[in-house]
């Protein structure tokens, strides 16, 4: 009978969607637990970053002195930007809603803004989603750091900082930016881009109470030498910070995306169940009518 086929079709769809909902629900739970861990790591890295910014601000205030740019540490010297490089941090895997698409869009905007003014723009990618995006659009790729994992260590991230410092100090690259999804809270991630090199030393003003440049420090060795060891660390720390934020963002975006997928699937199952019951009832009514009609026909003979 025609009604029976429709009933079976709807039942099969309900089954498919329910099992999809089970998968997305599981992924939501995994992402939630990974998000907590990623967030925890980002929080634990914060005291180092805060202290380092404060130390750097104090040192920079001491060494900036004369205002003569040539005496500055190489990592602080800005020059005419001919070659701009951009470090693009995205996730390796998808199913995270609009996270990577938004990041790619923000990165493209940054690059389009610089491209008319410089001779060369290149991309350093950390994350498959961003790499694929820029490969497809034919951008020059300077380097790729894939598969940093969900919980990268400081040591995992250091090669990225090493590379850009080398490129910058050797004069092959004149300016370096970094872009990542900043973790605002579990529901909000914000694409953020900032300049890595030349280093813009944080000033006391932006640090607020943390700064204390009016203190008369003893330096061992000289402030210049201290700065020379501190600055590469500062770059490493900023890259590490960006990667940790990006990972926390990735997990939270995935968690939200998977929750929405689960909710949507549940709603569909609800609608389909209604349809299923209706179709089933229709087919039963149809059968009953057939039987009743058949009996009546016999009795009337």
């Amino acid at each position: 009978m025609a009604g029976g086929g429709a009933v079976r079709g709807i039942r099969d769809r309900i089954k498919t969607i329910s099992s999809a909902a089970k998968v997305t629900r599981a992924m939501e739970l995994v992402a939630a637990s990974k998000m907590r861990r990623a967030q925890d790591r980002a929080v634990q890295a914060r005291p180092y970053a805060v202290t380092m910014r404060a130390v750097l601000a104090q040192l920079a205030a001491y060494t900036a002195g004369g205002g003569d740019a040539s005496g500055l540490h190489p990592l602080l010297q800005s020059r005419d930007a001919k070659h701009v490089s951009y470090v693009h941090i995205t996730s390796d895997r998808g199913l995270a809603g609009g996270l990577n698409a938004n990041m790619n869009r923000a990165a493209a905007a940054l690059i389009l803004e610089h491209q008319p003014r410089v001779e060369r723009v290149s991309v350093i990618s950390a994350g498959r989603k961003g790499r694929d995006f820029f490969r497809r659009s034919g951008m020059e790729m300077l380097a790729d750091f894939p598969e940093l994992g969900d919980f990268p260590n400081f040591e995992d991230v250091r090669p990225i900082a090493r590379l850009i410092i080398d490129e910058f100090v050797s004069g092959r690259v004149d300016q370096v930016f970094i872009g990542y999804q900043r973790f605002v809270n579990a529901a909000v991630q914000r694409p953020t881009t900032r300049q890595l090199l030349p280093i813009v030393a944080p000033s006391d003003a932006e640090l607020g109470a943390a700064g204390a440049s009016n203190i008369d420090f003893i330096f061992e060795p000289s402030p210049e030498e201290l700065l020379a060891t501190l600055l590469p660390r500062f770059v490493e720390m900023q890259v590490y910070e960006a990667v940790l934020e990006a990972r926390a963002s990735e997990q939270s975006a995935r968690m939200v995306a998977m929750r929405q997928a689960t909710d949507a699937a549940k709603e569909m199952v609800g609608d389909l169940t209604l349809q299923y019951n209706k179709a089933r009832q229709d087919s039963i009514t149809g059968e009953l009518l057939d039987i009743v009609g058949g009996t009546a026909a016999i009795e009337n003979k």
Binding site: Q44, T51, L59, P221, M237
Partner: protein
């Protein structure tokens, strides 16, 4: 007023201690002792043992490079790496020591090529020796001012 000490690495906070009465630090220019009301200081750190004295006793911590700032009895250590006694993997440190030593004696694989490799092996040796020395405090319990680095 005792010193307020925090030791942080890029990955985590290693120690936060408010009641520090004395601090022996492996500064890059040599070992220094910091007492309350110390003058404001900014220094880079070498590889060595740091000893934190409190009313409860002394604790040794392996410091593997970094920075220290002292200002208004607030001591901040930005360590490249730092490990408390219970965090030290002695077996790993012993293995690293053996590896570095054999490399420096010209037996290691791959062989040392040039000064940078020598420097690397020397640093690896110092790091492992520091870890081993600090870890030994666990067994002995006696923590004093560390011997020369």
């Amino acid at each position: 007023m005792p010193l307020n000490l925090t030791i942080v690495t890029a990955q985590r906070t290693i120690l936060e201690e408010a009641g520090v009465t004395k601090l022996v630090v492996p500064a890059a220019e040599g070992q220094i002792t910091i007492l309350p009301s110390h003058a404001a200081l900014m220094s880079s750190l070498g590889i060595g043992e740091m000893v934190v004295f409190t009313a409860a006793g002394a604790e040794s911590i392996a410091i593997l490079g970094g920075f220290i700032t002292v200002a208004n009895d607030q001591v901040s250590v930005l360590a490249d790496a730092a490990e408390r006694i219970e965090q030290i993997d002695v077996e790993r440190a012993e293995a690293a020591r053996a590896r570095a030593q054999s490399r420096l004696e010209g037996r290691g694989e791959p062989p040392i090529q040039g000064g940078l490799d020598v420097l690397r092996a020397q640093f690896a040796l110092r790091r492992s020796l520091t870890r081993i020395r600090v870890a030994r405090r666990r067994a002995g319990g006696a923590t004093g001012v560390p011997a020369s680095r």
